[in-house]
Amino acid sequence: MILKTKPELCTQCGQCEKVCSRVWFKEENPEKSAIRVNSKGDGVLINVCNQCGECIEVCPTEAIYRAKNGVVRIDKEKCVGCYSCVGFCPTMSMFFHKDVQEPFKCVACGMCAKECPTGAIYLEK
């Protein structure tokens, strides 16, 4: 499972960021979203985890693992909040927030894709 993007369709409406933070943190706050939309030159950059798994290797407590459906997940119990994974993510798609003990990332739940008005994000199995 992986969240794919078509930046050329994105209108930067911000709906995906709101949905993501609402689903996972019960508030609408783009800083607590695991998907981020930014301008890049004339276009748009949608920053979201591609499930490459580089973070699995750099986690000192083996808190990050690949689940059966292929999604990379974080076991909060094991995590010591060192944020090595944030600094070592090749696409800068591991996020952190001062209110939250552990880093967070896209787990391909697909809620944002469902609410995206233009089809710029979609789930692929």
Binding site: E57, V58, C59, P60, T61, E62, C79, V80, G81, C82, Y83, S84, V86, G87, F88, F96, K98, Q101, E102
Partner: protein, 719 residues
């Protein structure tokens, strides 16, 4: 395994239980320390005062303060009053910033006779703090071997007689981790401090600090190597200290400003991610990258510091170690250390000694070990280095002291000062790895020439002169020790500032105070005595600060920001200095500046200098260095670098070397270099606020706020 562990545990005899209230950390401190006396099994809690935090910060500062109050000027290392104090520091235990899990160990040293401090990785210091204690202070001596166990989740400290566990570290740490962990998952919550059998027979014993590696599924170790604290540990009949704390999270250190710490840590992780491969490749080869650089710049100690390079050095460079290391991407010795220099050789089959034939893990080797037991002894065999590294670790022996003293023994052997009769058959020529290995095993068994060598270079010089009629002046010239501590592994001959970096240290010649070779010799950034003195003020103070806070030095300048070379003072790594200022402020809530950072260190550093005075050391004569560290002692050495030295005689000394004998040139160069060193001492003392005998003045003590009556009393005797 389970059954045998049960058996070991059953043999324990509980001597004392102490229950305490669990307490959260507050802004990097728990505000109390754990005192244990093994003579009468006292265990008590001591409050940490605001004064202690303001003046001594933590870590090495706390250790020095407690030891100062525990001993008199007459206390010897093996008196019961001597203590071993272990403390991390306010920043210690931070999981976000690389290199923030260090423990600092302080004690009276068997080899130097004065106070020594050692900085070590592993999980003990942070877990001790999270268990509720800013420091552990151990005094007294047990009758029989004991283990001290601190249960940080149930608030309990026990002293247990432990007769059946191994003494050698590689077995003991596995036994105790298995014994005290509830499950495989729980193993990472255990850290063990231990030594080994050779610490009982020598004065150069060290301490191993453990941590569990979940990927490799075995217990790893880092070493508090310098100064013989392992020998003190075994003299107190401590088999191990064990701490257990489950529940480490990103905010267990309860910093005042977590957000800033997150950002600083992530910035460093990213910097390491982006730049380490292009800079020192610490993540792939650890500190072994230094071998080639040192060899290229003629700084790699070879044949007891006679030379700085060797044609065979390539055989022990990082290119070779790459083949041996089992690299993972998480080789840090505390959580969040992405510099990850703690390399291992996961499977190595031992060829000698009591564990011959067994497959073991070797933690290392690090640069100092490679240069010390390898090139400095003329041995360029990676397998010997691994074997020696392993046995030094499990026997509880400092690889640096072992390397430097073996090199000294080899030069004495080659000069006929000692012979086969004296060594009991060991042919200790440079390069003889079998003999060197056997010397180490003799230290382990407590027999033969190993017992003499294990006393260290300073005592060997005395024995060789008094009993074997050696020339004491020659031994003084080639015996690479100062203040009773063996030199660490950089050739300082061609850098006056580095001669000071070794000679003007508090504890003895250890590079962790000032490493100025490149600034001085390669980049020529310190042309005048004043420049050198400024560097020998700033850098020792700056580096002292790591030890007050539970930090590692490596993430300061073994990785640097991309634009560092374009800053005003690249050698200081200004951006990283600012990181540390911000980190301290964010943890403690006490805003400091980079100037205050130096002041914090200066206080502790001067206190330690006065501590040396209290113990009968610490004056100008004790800052004296062997001539081998300042220039060529022998004709052979001079002639190996004749062009360089001839040029210096002509250009710096105003002496025409043309047609002169090498003996005469050695003499003239020596006179010049020895004068230079004395001039350097003058300049450094002045810069540090000391008088011409190297004593901190009363004004200096007052300015630093350490003019306590008993401190002033010690100093006054010398003014």
């Amino acid at each position: 395994m389970k059954e045998s562990i049960e058996k070991l545990k059953k043999a324990h005899k509980l001597l004392k239980t102490f229950e305490y209230e669990l307490k959260e950390v507050n802004r990097g401190y728990t505000d109390r320390t754990l005192y244990i006396n093994l003579s009468d099994n006292t265990i008590k809690s001591k409050p940490v005062t605001q004064e202690m935090k303001d003046k001594f910060i933590g870590g090495r500062g706390f250790g020095l303060w407690y030891l100062w109050n525990a001993v008199t000027g007459n206390t010897k290392w093996n008196n019961p009053e001597n203590e071993i104090i272990i403390s991390t520091g306010p920043i210690g235990g931070t999981t976000q910033y690389p290199g923030a899990g260090k423990s600092l160990v302080v004690s009276l040293s068997p080899t130097t006779g004065t106070v020594v401090d050692s900085n070590v990785g592993g999980y003990f210091g942070p877990l001790l703090k999270f268990a509720g204690w800013d420091a552990i202070e151990i005094q007294g001596k047990a009758e029989k071997d004991v283990i001290v166990f601190i249960d940080g989740n149930n608030g309990k400290v026990t002293i247990e007689e432990a007769p059946e566990e191994a003494v050698d570290t590689h077995i003991l740490i596995e036994q105790l981790t298995e014994m005290y962990a509830d499950s495989e998952e729980d193993k990472r919550n255990i850290s063990v401090v231990s030594s080994g059998r050779a610490a009982e027979h020598t004065l150069i014993g060290m301490l191993n600090f453990s941590f569990y590696d979940p990927r490799r599924k075995f217990v790893r170790i880092k070493q508090a190597g310098r100064g013989g604290i392992g020998t003190v540990f075994r003299d107190k009949k401590i088999k191990a200290l064990v701490v257990k704390y489950a529940g480490v999270k990103g905010d267990t250190n309860k910093p005042a400003d977590k957000d800033t710490i997150n950002k600083l840590g992530i910035k460093m992780h990213k910097e390491i991610h982006d730049l380490d491969d292009m800079q020192n490749s610490m993540r792939k080869t650890g500190t072994s990258y230094l071998v080639k650089i040192m060899n290229d710049y003629d700084l790699l100690p070879t044949h007891n510091f006679k030379f700085g390079s060797h044609p065979e050095a390539e055989k022990i460079s990082s290119a070779e170690w790459k083949k041996w290391f089992t690299v993972t991407k998480t080789d840090g010795c505390w959580y969040g250390c992405t510099l990850a220099c703690a390399k291992t050789v996961d499977v190595y089959e031992l060829k000698t000694g009591p564990y011959k034939g067994q497959k073991v893990c070797v933690d290392g080797p690090e640069y100092e070990t490679i240069a010390g037991v390898g090139s400095n002894c003329g041995i360029f065999d990676p397998e010997y280095i691994l074997e020696c590294n392993f046995y030094c670790d499990t026997y509880g022996i400092d690889t640096i002291s072992f390397g430097t003293l073996t090199a000294f023994v080899m030069e004495c052997y080659e000069n006929g000062i000692i012979n086969k009769e004296i060594t009991g058959g060991l042919e200790l020529n440079f390069g003889n790895k079998e003999a060197a290995m056997e010397l180490l095993h003799q230290m382990g068994r407590g027999e033969g020439f190993g017992l003499i060598a294990g006393q260290g270079v300073r005592r060997m010089k005395k024995i060789f002169a008094e009993e074997y009629g050696a020339d004491p002046d020659f031994l003084q010239d080639i015996g690479m020790e100062a203040k009773g501590m063996e030199y660490s592994e950089y050739l300082p001959k061609e850098s006056l500032a580095q001669q000071g970096g070794y000679g003007l240290t508090n504890k003895g010649p250890q590079h962790d105070e000032a490493w100025l070779i490149f600034m001085d010799m390669v980049n020529n950034q310190l042309p005048t005595f004043e420049d050198k003195a400024e560097a020998l003020h700033y850098f020792p103070m700056f580096r002292t600060w790591f030890g007050l806070n539970g930090l590692c030095k490596l993430p300061w300048n073994d990785i640097v920001p991309e634009d560092n070379a374009r800053t005003d003072e690249p050698a200081k790594v200004p951006e990283h200095v600012q990181n540390y200022v911000d980190l301290f402020s964010a943890v403690t809530g006490k805003k400091i500046t980079k100037e205050e950072l130096i002041l914090q260190s200066e206080r502790v550093y001067n206190f330690q200098r006065v501590f040396n005075l209290k113990m009968g050391f610490g004056t100008r004569e004790h800052d004296r260095i062997p001539y081998r560290s300042a220039g060529p002692v022998t004709v052979e050495e001079y002639e190996s670098r004749a062009d360089r030295y001839d040029k210096q005689l002509k250009e710096l000394v105003g002496f025409d070397p043309e047609g002169k004998s090498t003996e005469e040139k050695v003499k003239v160069l020596r006179k010049y270099r020895e004068e230079q060193y004395q001039k350097l001492c003058d300049a450094v003392y002045k810069r540090r606020g000391w008088n011409e005998n190297g004593i901190p003045t009363l004004e200096t003590l007052k300015r630093l706020g350490i003019d306590y009556p008993d401190v002033v009393e010690v100093v006054k005797k010398h003014l």
